[in-house]
Structure formats: structure tokens, C-alpha cells
Symmetry: C2
Subunit: 305 residues, 2 copies
């Protein structure tokens, strides 16, 4: 008998739709739509929202309006808007438009780090040491991400010890928490628990997060597996938007609607109003002119209740 | 720390695509295609395959060729082809074409049982007592199903004590095992474990099965939750085909491909060759002229390995 009662009472959802979701979408949306989408997500009760990234606009044109989006967003008590920054130049751009929380991102493998950010893992960590130091010095919150923490599209199975080394170094240099990402959606629940078991020997659960893609259907099972290990920070993307432009076959983050439905059904609090969250995703569906893949968004609540 | 090592070493998959899947599909497929699909599923290593049902052809025209399908299937050592039978007339039809394994199906609520089979739960159990007795007398294997075991589209949340009563009565009258079905895809993992915890007080894990629909994205998480309780019989549908014609909003069984991918990734044996299983689903996709919803079927194995 498994002690399901030991699930966390509350989970901190990090909404990554506006960044991880829209970044890879072949259809660009206007800045107006982005801002309205993000405001709707905050209306729905999401408290951590990844808004954009300060990367090179020629590499990721969908994120070129990140400054403008931050300038237009109404500050809200209790809501943290995050931006990804790859280097000091990105951090300066973020600071210039008042960003209060940033994320740095590297990978478990050199092959992926080179393809994604043009640096080896070690080089990226050297860069981040300065970025994180300056960000902390300016009073910012800082998250760290480790991509391809289970599987790399260039070099196959990731070495859990390599993931551990990167996670611990991110935490040691001052990241408030480090998120491990199944960038290509290959992990299964036992692998999730095995890696987390290793990481939890040296890091508190509160300083770890998980980021799953649902490419092969295991996304929500992986979220469950992580919660069972005591993890309380979970990334998800409204409507199930998402992917990674540099990872072949990486499709769809776990959908925030589906995660919230599962968590609420298990008595785990999120602070999110599921109906209003669906409103936010529908706003984006209207702008994109197509259905998003979240199952709950399409099915709605069970009838007959 | 959760003892994931306690997952079962092997799971018995019951492939329900040809019955639960095709039964609700708006596109009828020819008997030729059905037979080729089922043979491919057996080629892929599936050992329990629900082939059709002996219900009234005017109510479920997609199943009208079940006799013909059974006559054409080549018997295979170690493969069990099942058929649903609602009553003695259905059992006679099954026996007449040599069927060796049947399933009877009722529900956790009268409202659903009436809509689905035109009987109250008690009436259905009275009918089944005779059906199961005769089937056992003829040396057949018999499964029992309890629909809407977590949520009924007519009367809302199902009463776990009602589910328990029906499950135990099905086992007591001679069913080899009883499957609990989340017909409308509303259950979440904690609810799955709570119901199974109740059932396991009186029934061995080997005599229970689970049948999940992925309507709200929780299908694979529910499978994981059931495995953690020691359940080793899991229904799934090739390609994620499926639904129930009498349950509004019931869409898509958990996809066999996704379940197998998750199980193999966790070191749980199924006997299924995942590549050949995808071949079977692609055969059906070609006949239907559309993509099926299984995520693994569309994504394939992770690259870079």
C-alpha cells in the first residue's frame, strides 16, 4: 500500500506557455495577444509565469517583443513574471525593463548545450556564475534549468551524475531552485523517481522543480511520480502548447489544465481556477485559429455531477 | 521515498481496440480490415484481445460482424480472443462460433446500466449469474466489467461501496477477474488508489483489472497508480481508439503504445513488440484515413539513442 496521503498539500505551478509554448509555435502571435494571454493566466490564479526570453531576436523571433511585453504587463501583488536570460547582455535587457525574476538554462549534455546555447555545459556554468551573481546582487529571483535531464536527442540517455553535478552547481552559485527538464518527452515515472532520488540526497525538495513534455504520453504520470518524491514545483503550459526549437521531436509541454485537473482531483491545491484557465487558453486558440492539445481544455469537466 | 521497485515485474495487457475502440468509431471498417488488424495485434505479442461483442446489431452496427471475425481468426497458441456478451442469447452466439472467453458488463450506477444495457445493476447481475454459470460450465474464461466505477455521466461520483458490491458479486458468481472502468475518463490517481485499496481488502490483485479512458489526460497516471497498488491487468486500445456510445464525452481509451512505452521504460514486461504494435495501428490508420491519438504512435522512439 502506497502512502498517497503523503502527496504535497500544495504545488507551485510555473506557467511556461507564453515562453516555452509560444517560442516554438510556427504561428507568431501579436504583442497584444501575448499580453492579454498573460493577464488572463494571472487572472486564473497562476502566480509564476514565464513571460519571455532575452535571447537573440534573430535566433528566436517569437521572443523579440519580450521587452515590450514586460513594459505592458500590469504589476500584480503575488505574481512573479519570469524571463529567460542566456548571458549578461540578456540580464541587462531584463533589468532595463524592470524584470524581477530570471532563469538561466543549460543542459545535461554538451551536445545539447552547444546546439541550444552555443556553449559547452562547463562554459555555460562559467557564464551563469556571473549572471546569477549580478542578478542576485540586484535583488532578483533566479531559477536554473537543466535541459535533456533524462534523454538528449543528440547523445541518448543522460547520465544522472552529470545532471546532479549541474543541478548542484546551479544551486551553489545562487539559483533559488533548479528545474530538471525532460525536453524531448522521453522519461518514464521510474526514471523520474530514480533521478529525483539521486538529487534529493543533496538538495531539498523545495529547491528542485520538474518540467515535462508529453511527447509520448507519460507527462502526467511523470508529474505524479515527482509529487510522490515530494517535489512541489511543476512547470506546465496552458493548453499544452510548447516544444523546443532545437530539439527534434520535442512536442508539447504537459498541459496546465490537465495538471490542475489531476492535482485538484487528488486534493492538492494549486490556487488556479480551472474555468478561468480554460478561458485564457481559448483566447489563445482564437488568436491562433486552432485547437490546443490539452485534453481537459477540449473535454471540459465530467458531466452529471 | 516510494518503493518503485515494488511495481509488478509483468503486466497482462488486454487489448480492447477492436471492440471498445471500433465500436464507437463513426467510421465503420470492413471485416477484412478488422481481421487484419487483430492478426497484427497478435503478431505484436498481445495475448488478450477483445475482438467484438454479441450485442444487438441494430444497437451497435459496428459489431454486427463479430461472428464472421471470430470464424476468420486463425487460432493461436497462447492468444485469447474475447467477446462481450450481454445475455444468454449473446453467449449462445459466442459459443456457436467457438469463442473461448467472454466478458459480461454492468455498471456502478443504475442510471448508466439502464442506458447501456437496459437493466438495473441488480437485474444485470441476476442475468449474469446464469450467463457466467453456463459459460464456466462450457469451459470458457469469463471476465466481468464494472462501468463508471469512479464517475457516472448521469449520476456523478460513483459510490465506492456500490462498486465493491458489484465487483465482489461478479467474482463470487464465477468471473475469473473483474475490471473497473473509468468510462468517462474522470478519475485521478488518488481516487484510483482509494477505490483499489477498498477492493483489495476482499479481492486478490490478480482478480482485478483496470480500464482507463484518457479524456482528461490522466489515463497513464491512473495506470501508474493502479500498478503501484499491485494491479497487473490493464486494458488499453491500440492507437488510443475508443469511447462508449452511451457515455456523453467518453473519448479515447489509454493508448496501448503509450502504456507499453511507459511500462517498458520502467522495466515492466508486457511481451509486446512496440514497433510491431505501431504497425498494427498504422494499418488501421490507413483504413480509417486519419491519424490515431496515441502520442507514442505519432512521435516514435526518442532519437539519439
Amino acid at each position: 500500500m502506497i502512502p498517497l496521503a503523503a502527496l504535497p498539500g500544495e504545488v507551485r505551478l510555473v506557467e511556461v506557455g507564453p515562453r516555452d509554448g509560444l517560442q516554438n509555435d510556427p504561428q507568431a502571435v501579436s504583442t497584444d495577444v501575448k499580453v492579454a494571454f498573460i493577464e488572463s493566466l494571472a487572472d486564473a490564479g497562476l502566480r509564476w509565469i514565464e513571460v519571455g526570453s532575452f535571447v537573440r531576436p534573430d535566433r528566436v523571433p517569437q521572443m523579440a517583443d519580450t521587452e515590450e511585453v514586460f513594459r505592458r504587463l500590469r504589476p500584480r501583488e503575488g505574481v512573479t513574471y519570469l524571463a529567460l536570460v542566456p548571458n549578461l547582455r540578456g540580464l541587462e535587457r531584463a533589468a532595463a525593463c524592470g524584470v524581477r525574476a530570471v532563469a538561466v538554462f543549460t543542459a545535461a549534455t554538451d551536445a545539447f548545450a552547444r546546439a541550444n546555447i552555443g556553449l559547452t555545459v562547463e562554459e555555460s556554468l562559467r557564464t551563469f556564475r556571473e549572471v546569477v551573481g549580478q542578478a542576485r546582487g540586484a535583488g532578483m529571483l533566479v531559477r536554473g534549468y537543466v535541459s535533456v535531464a533524462w534523454w538528449c536527442p543528440y547523445s541518448g540517455r543522460a547520465d544522472p551524475r552529470a545532471v546532479r553535478r549541474v543541478v548542484l552547481e546551479l544551486l551553489e552559485m545562487g539559483c533559488h531552485d533548479a528545474g530538471v527538464a525532460d525536453t524531448v518527452g522521453a522519461a518514464t515515472p521510474r526514471e523520474v523517481q530514480e533521478l529525483l532520488d539521486l538529487l534529493l540526497r543533496d538538495a531539498a525538495a523545495e529547491r528542485l522543480g520538474v518540467h515535462f513534455h508529453d511527447t509520448r504520453g507519460t507527462g502526467l504520470a511523470n508529474v505524479l511520480a515527482a509529487l510522490q518524491m515530494g517535489i512541489t514545483t511543476v512547470d506546465a503550459s496552458a493548453g499544452g502548447l510548447g516544444g523546443c526549437p532545437f530539439a527534434p521531436g520535442a512536442l508539447g509541454n504537459v498541459a496546465t489544465e490537465d495538471v490542475v485537473y489531476m492535482l485538484h482531483g487528488m486534493g492538492v491545491r494549486t490556487g488556479v481556477d480551472l474555468d478561468r484557465l480554460c478561458d485564457a487558453s481559448r483566447l489563445l486558440e482564437a488568436a491562433l485559429g486552432r485547437r490546443l492539445p490539452s485534453r481537459y481544455l477540449q473535454a471540459g469537466p465530467p458531466r452529471g455531477g
